[in-house]
């Protein structure tokens, strides 16, 4: 709204939801906060282009397997040690070979070969095969560069609580269970090309609070106790739009879509999977559950904000109960007295396992319940099985025998996520992330080709084909996009989201009076 005089200093109170166990790690909750502390090599711009950050420029070898980054000079970690090529190389080595960050690892596995320091300011990263998404992938928060000196000289605890990077903020204190206090790094010199201002952070501090309860979180903005809140409850979104600056980020990568167990159970039959997709008005359900705030996503493979998104494929399987019933009839599932279909005396029971209260909020659970009702009408007996965190993380529902469908998402700025999620699982290269157990060699080859394709248009065409294959086979069923929503108080300007994963950036933000 333009008005107001910019101020220097002040403390931003930010209401986040979940508290991660450590500030640095492979969980998106960790990326959110480590983005404030650690800088990456490169960053992703609004238009999808790669922009300089710690690396001022880079070259790619003609065969696409060698990336040489030129580092910004005189950048120092907050422990005073230089951000040099050796440090960067050490970080890559740590993520890929020392188990330092398993998400970073799976993102660029098996393409990554080695990182070597050419000289103080040049680092060379070699790949086993050409992999153009590489640059995009390393814009993610998992690839934040830490001080090797600090890391190696300190204990696990310090590294967990206070990673040392060269970012706009340093971790001043972590009041566990309550908040992380980030203090401005006064010597900040390594802002990304996408930054809104040059120089250290304008505010003095950020209090990164963990407020699990949606009502409290959103209300705190209204009472002036916080300035920015994450995950505005959808019921409050309309209100938020009128009272605050709002930012909505549609996460790229795999949207919230169902993995469909193609290995055992009724969904081994493609027709049944398709009937399942036709059988529920997913769009209306999503609108009802999320109060029209979160967009429906028909494409199970990648979400609409991902480069190379196949919008055509997304249109398949619009709600058509008649077609669903016809498909089921053909597949030999006949309706029984109670409306539930059976085949060979077996009812058409679908075990739908979902992460209750964290992957799926109450709002998401409503969506499932609406669809459950609709599926019942066409003859599916869908059992909603809420899984606790302990169960999911413990791998209780990892085995194909334990579920028929399970919704989940995987954020990634690149369509190469398809490789992680849909790559066929083989004995020598098992893929535990392919939770549809969908082993389609053609699909695997298509994605592989796309990943290696230097020409962007060509690559996107291939990614598009891959999405089509998944959709045609109903190996997954789309549901909605993963969203990050933020509401920002009117007197706080220039809070922006980085493009790769939607993390808030506070180093450019300032208060107005």
């Amino acid at each position: 709204a333009g008005g107001g005089t910019p101020q220097t200093g002040g403390t931003i109170v930010y209401g986040h939801v979940q508290e991660p166990p450590c500030i640095f790690g492979g969980w998106i909750q960790q990326a959110y906060i480590s983005r404030q502390v650690l800088d990456g090599l490169v960053t992703l711009a609004e238009d999808g282009s790669i922009q300089p950050w710690l690396a001022t420029s880079w070259t790619v070898s003609p065969d696409g397997t060698k990336y040489t980054f030129t580092l910004k000079e005189n950048v120092k970690f907050t422990d005073g040690t230089p951000v040099d090529a050796a440090a960067v190389a050490w970080n890559f080595d740590y993520w890929e070979n020392k188990g330092g960050n398993s998400t970073a690892k799976v993102s660029i596995d098996p393409y990554f070969k080695a990182a070597t320091a050419v000289d103080a300011t040049h680092v060379e990263i070699s790949l086993t095969r050409p992999f153009p998404p590489f640059l995009t992938l390393i814009t993610q928060g998992y690839f934040g560069i830490q001080s090797p000196t600090a890391f190696q000289s300190r204990g696990e605890k310090e590294n967990c609580e206070k990673p040392i990077g060269s970012g706009g903020f340093v971790v001043e204190e972590w009041k566990h269970g309550e908040e992380v206090i980030l203090a401005k790094n006064p010597n900040y010199t390594s802002w990304p090309a996408t930054a809104k201002h040059q120089g250290p952070a304008i505010v003095d501090k950020v209090r990164w609070k963990f407020i699990a309860d949606g009502v409290s979180r959103y209300s705190s903005l209204g009472t002036g106790e916080s300035h920015v809140v994450y995950e505005v409850p959808t019921v409050n979104w309309k209100d938020a739009k009128t009272r605050y600056q709002t930012i909505r980020y549609i996460t790229p990568g795999k949207p919230v879509s169902f993995y469909i167990n193609t290995k055992t159970g009724p969904f081994t039959d493609r027709a049944v999977r398709q009937a399942f997709a036709y059988g529920a008005d997913r769009k209306s359900a999503v609108e009802a559950g999320f109060h029209g705030v979160i967009p429906y996503e028909g494409n199970p493979a990648v979400s609409q904000s991902t480069p190379g998104y196949n919008a055509e494929a997304a249109k398949a399987y619009a709600y058509d109960p008649a077609k669903a019933e016809a498909l089921l009839e053909q597949a030999g599932w006949a309706k029984g007295g109670d409306g539930i279909r059976t085949k060979d005396g077996k009812p058409l029971t679908i075990k739908l396992v979902y992460g209750a209260a964290f992957i799926f909020t109450q709002e998401g659970a409503t969506v499932l319940q609406v669809m459950q009702e609709q599926w019942k009408k066409v003859g599916f007996d869908v059992k909603l099985i809420p899984a606790t965190r302990a169960e999911l993380w413990g791998g209780k529902y990892a085995d194909p025998s334990t579920f028929d469908a399970t919704p989940s998402y995987w954020t990634s700025p690149s369509p190469s996520i398809l490789w992680i999620v849909w790559r066929p699982s083989t004995v020598e290269r098992p893929n535990g992330s392919n939770r549809s157990f969908y082993n389609n060699d053609t699909l695997g080859q298509t994605i592989d080709r796309a990943n290696g394709e230097q020409d962007a248009a060509q690559a996107n065409a291939l990614y598009g084909q891959a999405q089509q294959i998944i959709q045609d086979d109903a190996a997954g069923i789309g549901l909605y996009t993963q969203n990050s929503t933020y509401a920002v108080a009117q007197n706080l300007k220039d809070v922006w989201l980085e493009k790769s994963q939607g993390e808030p950036v506070f180093s450019d933000a300032y208060f107005t009076r």
Partner: protein, 310 residues
Amino acid sequence: MRYLLKLLSAVAVVIAAASVTFFAQLAVPGDRATTLMNLQTGQDRKWTAEELAPLNEKYGFDDPIVVQYLDYVTGLFRGDLGTSYTQKRPVLEVIGGQLLPSLTLTVLALVVAWFLALGVTLLTVRRGRFLSGLGATWEAMTASLPHYWVGIVLLVVFAVQLRVFPVIGGTSGWGTVLPVLTLAIPLAGFVGQVTREEFEQVLAQPFVTTARTRGMSDLAVRLRHVLRHAVLPAVTLSGWALGALISGAVITENIFGRPGIGQVLVTAVDTRDMPTASGVVLVVATVYVVANLLVDLAYGAIDPRLRRAT
């Protein structure tokens, strides 16, 4: 000698509780290394043996259970509760930071509950049909309130609408008011109910009539004579309540964004962070045991007859 025995038995109870937790968590299906891997990646999948090997190695998950247990218990005697798998910090530190807010919350809740309960009881027991009925109903009603419903209603009314208290006050003084009330109101109902029952019985005792025959006013009789007798059951209840509240406060912590041991416990169980979960139980059990020792002392102070019995 008797105190030494008491102390020993208290220590035994605490260690037993922690041990039960240790084994109970082992009995829970699912593999710890898998959980940790999934946790690190935000996944819910299976991992290969090689992928899990470094974690198994690091935390000794492959050691025989007896060895793991002995490690743990001997650690306890050295004052070492182990290191959190997920937070990489000593459990003592993980819990240490959360204990004070939890204790503050629960102790204050207990105190406030007592004041509410005694206030209502003193003013309403046997004070005419209407007042007594009102008091009894109030107690029964507040005792039936689900905690988080109270919390959310208090939050919306007093913090969001009236803005008397902060929404996310954390551990600040004002911020503690609503969380304390959330826990205290239902507890006050409980305490009130047992006190009322006892109060009614004591009011009918001959010594109360005797006090009246000396010309004492009703209020004075209640305060000087009856109260002391009537609080005994509520005192017992308090020992139990303190132990129960401290882990049960998780809901309140959740709503008001407060740190606390309840949150730690829930997260630890979710993430199969065994040392942390066992540590929390150890602490809660200690609080319980200490609270009950205090109850014993309070008993003795209130009713010297009980000093010998215990």
